[in-house]
Structures are given as C-alpha cells and as structure tokens.
C-alpha cells in the first residue's frame, strides 16, 4: 500500500489537477476569510468553512476524476491486477494519497483562525471542530468521487457524473422540503430508491439473481412495514433525504457542536464507497 501511496503522490505533484484542487480551496478560503472575518470584524471562522463547502462541487471531481478512470483508459489497470498487492490495498493507497492532497491546503487554511486570534478573542475549539468536520466532509465526498471514477474509463464522464452527484447532495436537504409528506408519496419514492439500489448492485456484480432477491426483499419489507405502520411513512422520504445529506450534517459542526454521530456517518460513507470501489475494480477481473 505504501508503494501505491508514494507513486500516487508523485503523480499528483507532477500533474495539474491536484494543484487546481488545492488552489480552489485556498482561493475561496482566502476570499471568504477576508470578507467574513477581516472586513466584517468577525471571529467566526467556522462560517468561512461553511461558506466554502460548495467548492467541493467543483474541486472533488477535479481531484478524483482520473484516479481510477485513467487506469482503465490507459490499460494500466492490468498492472495493478497482476501485482501481488490486493485491490483493497491499491484502493486504500490511492485514497490516502488523495487525502494527503486534501490535507495540504486544509492545513494552510487551519492557520487562518490562529492568525485571527491576533485581532481578538477567537473560538479556537469551535474552529478546530469545524475544520475536523470539514475534513471528514471532504474525505467522504472524495470517496464518492473515487467510486464514480471506478465506473468509467472516461475522465470527463467521471468528472461530470461526480459533479451532478455532489450537486444533488448539496441541495438534497433543501429539496427534501419539496417532497410530499403523504405516506403514499414516501412509499413510492422508497420503492423507486430500493429498485435503484438493486440496479446499482446488479451493475457492480452482474448477478441478476442476487440483485433480484435483494430488490424483492427490500420492496417486500417496505410494503409490509407500510401496511403494518402507515404513520411511519409520513414525511419519511423527506427526513431520509435530509439525514443522508453530507452537507447538512456539517451544519452541526458550524453551530459549535462536535457531532460524533456526524463523524460516524462520514466514516460509514467513506468505508461504504471505498468498498464499492474495490468491488467495482474486482468486477473487471470477474467479468462474465
């Protein structure tokens, strides 16, 4: 795994995308700090991080688009498959390298609240908590971007799809308010969601039987639950959208709360999408 991390870092330092990613973060963090803190005379650095979180919509696709798509397009994935290193280690190595590239600008941004203390009494712990949350938010989005990159051999398709997914996630909490709170509406939405999950599973495993069984079980469970306790479905889909939103979870950190459940959620998302990335790469080997 160490060799993969080293090789990837070398690649990031000799290519433009990682610099663009870092530059975007630093540029917007600089602008927001100037406007929100220096010009407004405010010490609330966490608001800067909340303000610049939208930059992930562009920065994450730039960083992640090539990570696995390029392997496939250049046929270098054959080398990875033939080496005595497991695909899990390869994926972890590549992910850690991306995290390092994310941490570098983040550490520079982390100096800003320290600098602000020269102008007054700052809330360093709140800033530190917000920075931690910001790191986990970015890390989970990078894991999603990596998985999307594993699905295609085109960097452009990977970047475009990643942007759309980030955008949907960014506005997911706002969109939830437009969803009908009627139990039937929630049931229909969840049935469609279950089918989509099963379709994704089929896409990754190409196993129609297993995907079909899982889809059937999920649909059946939803129907049984609906007829047993209909009230549970009242506004359920909206709540689900809100709780699934990675960006919404970050609000707690901005409010000065070190939300451990939020951290746990981010870690779960990271593990889930890294596992999917491994599965997606292994699928190529097991193609039938």
């Amino acid at each position: 795994m160490k060799s993969v991390v080293k090789y990837e870092l070398l690649s990031y330092f000799t290519n433009i995308p990682a610099y663009v990613f870092g530059a975007f973060l630093l540029l917007f963090a600089g602008i927001y700090t100037s406007v929100n803190n220096l010009m407004a005379g405010s010490m609330n650095f966490e608001l800067v991080l909340q303000g610049i979180s939208f930059i992930f919509l562009i920065a994450v696709p730039i960083l992640t688009m090539r990570v696995l798509a390029e392997e496939r397009s250049q046929r270098t994935d054959t080398l990875l498959y033939s080496l005595p290193t497991s695909m899990t280690k390869v994926i972890l190595g590549k992910y850690i390298a991306m995290l390092v590239m994310f941490l570098i600008p983040l550490m520079i941004i982390g100096l800003y609240p320290l600098m602000l203390t020269a102008f007054g009494h700052g809330y360093l712990l709140v800033s530190l908590g917000a920075l931690t949350g910001f790191f986990f938010l970015g890390a989970s989005l990078i894991a999603i971007g990596m998985f999307i990159s594993s699905l295609t051999s085109s960097q452009a398709v990977a970047a475009g799809t990643c942007f759309v997914v980030m955008l949907v996630n960014y506005y997911m909490a706002s969109l939830s308010s437009f969803v009908s709170s009627q139990p039937y509406a929630s049931l229909i939405a969840l049935v469609i969601l279950a089918a989509a999950v099963a379709a994704l599973l089929y896409l990754l495993t190409k196993n129609l039987l297993v995907s079909g069984i899982i889809c059937g079980m999920m649909e059946l469970a939803l129907l049984v639950l609906f007829f047993v306790k209909k009230s549970l479905f009242e506004g359920l889909f909206g709540k689900l959208l809100e709780s699934l939103s990675l960006f919404k979870r970050y609000d707690a950190f901005v409010d000065g709360m070190f939300d451990l459940t939020g951290i746990l959620y981010y870690v779960s998302v990271i593990v889930f999408f890294l596992a999917l990335s491994v599965l997606s790469m292994e699928k190529q080997r097991w193609a039938e």
Partner: protein, 333 residues
C-alpha cells in the same frame, strides 16, 4: 511450475476459452500459438490473475492464482499486449513501483532495476517520460517490468508486435536468455517466430488447446508426408491419369492455368521421394508432356497449423487466411 487445470472462460453465451489444461515444469521458451481471437490473451490474463476463470484453476509453483494470489503473483512477471505504463512516469519510476509491490528490499530493487534496464537496453531512456517513448521502448520497459522480482515464470503477450526487425531480433534473443533459467511463455500468431524461438508450442484455436508439443513432434504427427508440387504442360485429365498410378498420394490439388498447363500439389506418403519424382518425370516424358518445375517440400509448421485449425468446428476462416498469407513456404529441399 505452472499448471492450468480445465480452465474455461465464458462471457455470457460466448465461450472464449474452453477446458484448457497443461503443465509446464521445465525451463525454456514456450509459445502460445493461435490466430487472432483464438483466446491467447484470455488464457494469459487468467494465468497471471488479471482475469478470473469461469471454471478451472491455475497454480504457480503450487500456489493457486486466486486463493493464494499474493504468493503466486510474486512468481510471475507479465507483459500484456499493451504495456501498462503510466505516461507521466519514467521507466525508472515504473520499475521502482513494481519492485516495491513485489516486496523487494531497497538494495535488491536497485540491483534488479539496473539489471532489467541493461538487459532490455533502456538505460539511456531511464529518466524520460514513458508517454514520450517509442512503441519499441515502451515494449522494452514493459518487458523490464515483467523481469522485476526475478520471477520464475514470465508471460509475454505478443511481445514483438509493432517492433522493427532489429528490435524483434533483440526481444527474441532476450526471451531465449530469460528462458535459460525460467519459464517464458509468449503468445504470437506469427508461426516463424514461434518455430524459431520455442521449445514447445501450445496451439490454441477457438478457445481450445489443440496441441502441446515440440515443433518437430507436431510436424511429424500432422504432416506425415512430404509435399510435392510441380507445373506440367499437360491437361488436367492427363495429370489425373498419371497421378492415379502414384500410391499413397493424398490431398491432391490441381489448378489448370494458361493453355494446357497445370499446377499440381499432393501429399506424398512414400518414403523415397526421389523415386516418386523420377516416376512422375518419366510418366510425363512418355506422353511427351514436360514438367517445367518440380519442388519437394517438407511440411512446415504453417501446414500443420492449417491442418489443425481446419479441424476446429468454429469458424476460423479469417485466421486460416491470415496464416496462408503468412506461409510463404517452409524449408525447401
């Protein structure tokens, strides 16, 4: 030692490789011969763990390529059809990456990288970006990658494709050198290359392993007779009349051309070819129809390859046509 046990690979309804089994235990260069689309690359990908078999297994020195992947892959070096090189990395870095993944110590890695670069003659481009290298150099870097870790088995998928004649000779020489101490398996659809380089040949067609033997044994087995061909200033009827007197003649092909000329070839089952040629000469002489050209040819690998692939039920027409185009005649007496 490499053991392939009943490997089958299916893509939906299409069977790319069907029940292929072989064992290679001695060192040397071994050829995987077959027309394009025969399943050579699929077999190589399965052997190296890049692809899973639908059925069957591959064992490298007793280690299963799937369940004991790490142990088995340390013993294998693989050069796929397209050398897997990152264009923004130098050959030195590419080799370093493989060395680290194969668990070599810093000192071993340094020594093996230097040795591989010298053997493949890429030292002068060691610090240039792989993306800027010529096809020949990329192929050599790929080969150097396969040599890292001093594997006991090296698998090369069409290593000479796209190279100029000098590079082809160099790569063949390198394969022979490597084959002295280890198993080198390479695929090709160029018969002369396989015949010139290999100790034993695996003939693949339609995803099936047709033969696994030395070129000499295959020639004996399939081409048990010598090919005699001649051009006579005689009609087809006259030619047929004379050839009916030759015992054991088979696979007769007569092609009339021009005015009263025939091009004839047949498989002679006789031991004494000179006697057959003399009889033909006098038979045509008796009817005052001259033979203007006569050749006795030992059946070549091309001939037996065509014969073997002819027996495969799958449509291998394109492959056979390709082989025929390549076959410009074997060794002439």
């Amino acid at each position: 030692m490499i053991e392939a046990l009943n490997i089958t690979k299916r893509y939906g309804n299409h069977t790319a490789v069907s029940d292929v089994s072989f064992t290679i235990s001695d060192t040397g260069v071994f050829g995987l011969l077959g027309p394009n689309g025969a399943g050579k690359s699929t077999i190589m990908n399965i052997m190296t763990g890049c692809l899973s078999a639908t059925e069957g297994s591959v064992r490298i020195n007793g280690h299963d390529i799937v369940s004991e992947a790490a142990e088995a892959k340390k013993l294998i070096g693989y050069l796929p059809e397209i050398p897997p090189l990152y264009p923004d990395r130098t050959p030195e870095e590419a080799l370093g990456f493989v060395a680290m993944n194969k668990g070599l110590s810093r000192q071993d890695a340094k020594e093996q990288i230097e040795h591989a670069m010298e053997a493949t003659r890429i030292t002068e481009v060691a610090r240039r970006l792989c993306g800027n290298l010529s096809k020949g150099y990329k192929q050599r870097v790929g080969l150097a990658q396969a040599m890292i870790g001093n594997p006991s088995i090296i698998v090369l998928d069409e290593p000479t494709v796209g190279l100029d004649p000098r590079e082809i000779i160099e790569i063949r020489g390198l394969m022979r050198d490597l084959g002295k101490e280890r198993i080198v398996i390479f695929s090709s659809h160029i018969l002369s290359e396989v015949e010139a380089t290999c100790k034993r040949i695996l003939v693949i067609s339609g995803g099936k392993l047709l033969e696994f033997d030395t070129p000499e044994n295959l020639a004996k087995k399939y081409a048990d007779a010598t090919l005699i061909s001649f051009t006579a200033l005689a009609s087809e009827t006259e030619v047929r009349g004379i050839l009916s007197q030759i015992e054991h003649a088979s696979k007769l092909k007569i092609r009339p051309f021009g005015s009263g000329k025939c091009q004839v070839s047949f498989n002679s089952g006789a031991v004494d070819q000179e006697e057959v040629c003399s009889r033909l000469f006098f038979a045509f002489s008796d009817i005052r129809k001259p033979i203007v050209e006569m050749t006795v040819r030992q059946a070549s690998l091309e001939d037996l390859y065509i014969e073997m692939t002819d027996n495969v039920s799958n449509d291998q027409g394109a492959g056979r046509r390709l082989i025929r185009n390549l076959a410009k005649g074997g060794s002439r007496k």
